[in-house]
Amino acid sequence: MSGNFVALDPAVADLIGAGNARRDEARQPVADRQRKQRERERTKARERNRVMLDLPLRITERLTALGELHRVPVSQVAGLLLAEGLARLEGGEIDIEAAKRASNSPKYDWNLEYQ
């Protein structure tokens, strides 16, 4: 890409950036490439437990409040409640089908409605 700024779709810009980074790395000495690969694997191992979710504000506020009330990390509050919820789902106490609503978005077939 030249020095002139060209506005791009953000995803296209990311793809081009990733491609350029791969190319630059391929030109480096073997030892440097292996070091970078090890760094990536360490980062991936740390991030394996990290997810980003879109949640309604009312839920994130309640989770934060619970974390402050019990003086525990918010992630652990969320983890506990998710683990309990999963157990109830797998035990048949929660009917995920009943919460499904048709989605207008072509990306997803359904949306889930919950309180």
Binding site: M1, D14, M52, P106
Partner: protein
């Protein structure tokens, strides 16, 4: 009713797959969709695994005049075998039709005139989308599609010749708009068969993006299921709705590209929903 022409003057870039996938996707979402095959090779019928046909000849017959009515489209089940997806098929009978239209003084406008009549269809019979799969050649139907469409979507492989096809398509559209024959706008340029590992794919994406900026959409990844779907006469929605061509490539923690995101992007660009 939104009319989208899927075009590139280069063959083998994924026009039919793109047109069929988008049309069926919108049909699955409950929209009434008319998929028109403007290519005498008749690949739309092949892609859907149905018998060939030539409704296009009746649809565009210039001798039908003011008495033309699209009743055979509105009535009955769509012959695509898919709910909400109606077809105007094409085959070798399109060749004499093109000669007929070329001999007419306003032959290039017949398609637009027919679509105007469809726009006036009563609620319940009206189409939400018309998707036109254009032939990879500059002929009267190719020009007619650019005259009649609201939006142009240009799939392109990431190679030199296909990118040249993009330039040619945009040049043709610019000429038509400049002469006041078309108000069609470019919805996007859609890179197809994208392989993020190969240098050529990367270089051509960079080149395309540097030329056309935000018009370049996130690409459709290379996915052998596209060929399999055509061979089996099934759409990607039926064969592999979660596959690479549909869902895109995983980058960091989200999926990029793929036909599902193309539909979302077109929804925003065309102002529907």
């Amino acid at each position: 009713m939104v009319v989208i022409a899927v075009t590139n003057q280069k063959g083998g870039v994924g026009k039919t797959t793109t047109a069929v996938t988008l049309a069926h996707g919108w049909a699955c979402a409950g929209k009434r969709v008319l998929l028109m095959d403007l290519d005498s090779q008749g690949n739309v019928a092949d892609s859907l695994g149905i018998e060939p046909g030539h409704e296009l000849v009746r649809f565009l017959d210039p001798e039908a005049g003011e008495g033309w009515q699209p009743t055979y489209i509105e009535a009955g089940d769509p012959q695509s075998g898919r709910e909400n997806l109606y077809l105007v098929r094409s085959d070798k009978h399109t060749a004499p039709l093109k000669r007929k239209l070329a001999a007419e003084p306003f032959g290039v406008q017949v398609l637009g005139e027919r679509l105007k009549l469809l726009r006036r269809a009563p609620r319940g019979a009206a189409f939400d989308f018309v998707v036109m799969d254009c032939a990879p050649s500059v002929d009267i139907l190719h020009t007619a599609a650019m005259v009649a469409a609201d939006w142009l979507l240009i799939p392109t492989r990431l190679d030199q010749l296909a990118v040249k096809g993009v330039m040619d398509a945009l040049g043709t559209l610019a000429s038509l708009r400049g002469a006041g024959h078309s108000s069609c706008e470019v919805a996007g340029i859609l890179p197809t068969f994208y392989d993020r590992v190969t240098t050529e794919s990367h270089d051509q994406l960079v080149h395309l993006a540097s030329q056309f900026g935000k018009l370049v959409m996130p690409p459709i990844p290379l996915d052998t299921q596209c060929r399999t779907a055509t061979r089996l006469g099934r759409t990607l929605w039926e064969l592999d709705p979660g596959g690479r061509a549909m869902a895109g490539m995983l980058m960091e923690r989200e999926f990029v590209g793929g036909y599902r995101s193309v539909m979302v992007r077109l929804q925003e660009v065309c102002g529907v929903w």
